[in-house]
């Protein structure tokens, strides 16, 4: 057809953006927050816990550009400090829970037999409980505090990784390259660690990335309920809780909430970017 107009060939820049744009945006957001968290004492305009009752509930201004809370503390400084707790908890929960779950799942898939059956029934069992309720029960029983809340989260966190890792290893296990490694004479440990895991790592990384955001959300939620950090520690969920009655002084609760939103979106961007990258359907484009 003579009338067909060929679309312009995408420039390398467009192709780069299409391929890595989403993931890069997510990475940039996370990096920005991570830097703020690390350098919080130096970049925040005020001491996060400095009480100034005379200046309480001041709306955003040039001095307090996110306003002040009921005790006159600078909201912006507290938001910046809050990143420390949230990011740390997110990474710790996902790192420990993810590692534990992945190992368990991989071992279950590779061992087969009763080991697999037992481990998988155990994950089913933990899946019977909604994470929030179980975490709430455990956190309450252990007592309030960041460490106890993290422990409570870890108890409910690992099973999804165990399931995913198991299904990934089972898929890879039946691939011919694994048989090839066996027939060359490699032992099971080498095959699991050197051959199978590197190939199963992609979807795991996607889940890990998305899940950091998830962990941050759950922790903030528990904090919001009063089960997370001990006051006066600056933490986003707790800050929203402090401001939730203050509808007129909207800034007290809004900014920490926005902080959670952006961080979690950052992890979602990155996870989605990774996923598109690995997805065979998306790659044809």
């Amino acid at each position: 057809m003579s009338g067909v107009v060929l679309p312009a060939i995408a420039s390398p820049r467009q192709r780069w953006l299409r391929r890595y744009g989403l993931a890069s945006l997510g990475a940039a957001i996370i990096l920005a927050w991570a830097l703020l968290a690390i350098f919080a004492p130096w970049v925040s305009p005020f001491d996060a816990n400095f009480v100034d009752v005379a200046n309480r509930l001041k709306p955003p201004s040039w001095v307090h550009w996110m306003g002040t809370d009921a005790l006159g503390r600078d909201v912006a400084s507290r938001v910046i400090h809050g990143a420390r707790v949230s990011l740390a908890v997110g990474f710790v929960v996902v790192a420990i829970g993810g590692l534990f779950g992945t190992l368990l799942g991989a071992i279950a898939a590779y061992a087969r037999g009763w080991v697999e059956e037992a481990l998988m029934r155990l994950t089913d069992l933990v899946f019977c409980f909604p994470p929030i309720i179980l975490a709430m029960a455990i956190a309450a029983a252990l007592g309030i505090g960041t460490v106890n809340t993290v422990i409570a989260m870890l108890v409910v966190w690992w099973p999804k990784f165990a399931r995913l890792a198991r299904s990934l290893v089972i898929t890879q296990r039946s691939m011919e390259y694994v048989e090839a490694a066996q027939s060359v004479g490699f032992g099971p440990a080498h095959i699991l660690v050197r051959q199978i895991l590197p190939n199963a790592v992609g979807p795991l990384v996607v889940l890990l990335t998305l899940d950091v955001g998830n962990a941050i959300l759950v922790f903030a939620g528990l904090s919001f309920l009063g089960l997370g950090v001990v006051p006066p520690t600056a933490e986003w969920g707790a800050m929203v809780a402090e401001g939730r009655e203050l509808v007129q002084q909207w800034w007290v609760a809004t900014f920490p909430g926005l902080a959670i939103l952006t961080v979690v979106m950052g992890f979602n961007f990155m996870g989605d970017g990774f996923r598109d990258w690995l997805d065979p359907h998306a790659r044809t484009r």
Binding site: A220, F224, L225, G226, A253
Partner: protein, 337 residues
């Protein structure tokens, strides 16, 4: 089919039993001491009072014996007395549950009604504006903290615009109907009390939207992914090669296959809505199960915590069982396997 149902059912019962054991062990081995929480420091320093308290609540019996009592009670519908309210736990739950069931059900219907069509359209018109919209909705849905979203909508629509009613299930001036089911919409409609019905409905709007948020995001995302997967299958090309209309290909061929993962997610999501309403309930002062769970947890009210977690576990297992069943109905290969 029958064999499948029976074997699934058997598995479910075993899971519930194991779950109660886990709950029991957690509740009875963690360091939190109910004695201290309930009696206060002064009374706890008196050994006689403590012993009396422990004896009254059966805390002096061996662990396995207490588990047996717990199981036995559970089978007779008796979860014991709440340490806080001093009423049978089950009666407490019966008072609080309807508010949550009503809220969660409406939120669930809402997220299905929006999420399914949005996910399907996004997949069919990939990379169009509706796909971008769907991705944005699901992204915000799963990224925004529920408790914060609740605050924001309350601040905007109640505090600022004043077009929505405030927290609670009813206005303070409305008279709640005599509970029949405990679900306000049904009870008021049954009694023909339409003023209260409208009031209850208006109070449900904001919390149900907030609660639906993350579920909506998940359902949109899963539906879109499942539809994209189904649309790329050979049988879809065959259906097009038959000369079927585009809509018939989508709804008749891709959709039935794409529903499989969505059903799994949907079942779990509903159970999670029931359980996870606590933050929405907190912000909206909603007298639901979530609040009750939370206060029980903070008070280390063991009978209440155990009853709630047991019931939630039963609900989860039941939902999983139903998901398995609908799977078998949707996918003929399940039974053959």
């Amino acid at each position: 089919m029958l064999r499948y149902v029976v074997s699934r059912l058997g598995l479910s019962v075993v899971m519930v039993l194991l779950a109660t054991l886990v709950i029991f062990l957690i509740a009875n081995t963690v360091p939190g001491d109910p004695v201290l929480m309930q009696l206060g420091d002064l009374a706890a320093s008196n050994p006689a009072t403590v012993a009396e308290f422990r004896h009254h609540w059966g805390l002096d019996l061996p662990l396995w014996h207490r588990y047996w009592i717990f199981l036995d009670g559970m089978l007779h519908g008796d979860f014991g007395e709440s340490l806080v309210s001093r009423r049978p736990v089950l009666r407490d739950i019966a008072d609080y549950a309807p508010a949550t069931v009503e809220l969660a059900s409406i939120a669930f219907v809402l997220s299905l009604a929006v999420g399914l069509p949005l996910g399907i359209l996004a997949a069919v018109r990939r990379d169009s504006w509706i796909d971008h919209l769907a991705r944005a909705v699901s992204l915000i849905g799963v990224s925004a903290p529920t408790f914060w979203l609740a605050f924001v909508v309350l601040a905007i629509f109640y505090g600022w615009l004043d077009i929505a009613p405030g927290p609670g299930r009813l206005d303070p001036v409305s008279f709640p109907p005599t509970p029949i089911t405990g679900l306000l919409l049904i009870d008021t409609a049954w009694l023909g009390d339409w003023d209260t019905f409208r009031d209850a409905a208006a109070h449900l709007v904001l919390p149900s939207i907030v609660l639906a948020g993350s579920t909506l995001g998940l359902i949109t995302r899963t539906t879109r992914a499942a539809m994209l997967e189904a649309l790329s299958q050979d049988y879809v090309r065959v259906a097009r090669a038959k000369g079927l209309r585009g809509r018939a290909v989508v709804t008749g061929h891709a959709l039935p296959n794409a529903m499989l993962p969505v059903v799994t997610l949907g079942g779990l999501a509903y159970a999670n809505l029931l359980a996870g309403a606590v933050m929405t309930e907190t912000v909206f002062s909603w007298p639901g199960l979530g609040r009750y769970t939370f206060t029980s947890a903070v008070a280390v009210d063991f009978p209440a915590i155990m009853a709630i977690t047991t019931i939630v576990a039963i609900v989860f297992v039941a939902v999983n069982f139903l998901v398995d069943l609908s799977y078998a109905l949707l996918d003929p290969r399940v039974l053959k396997r």
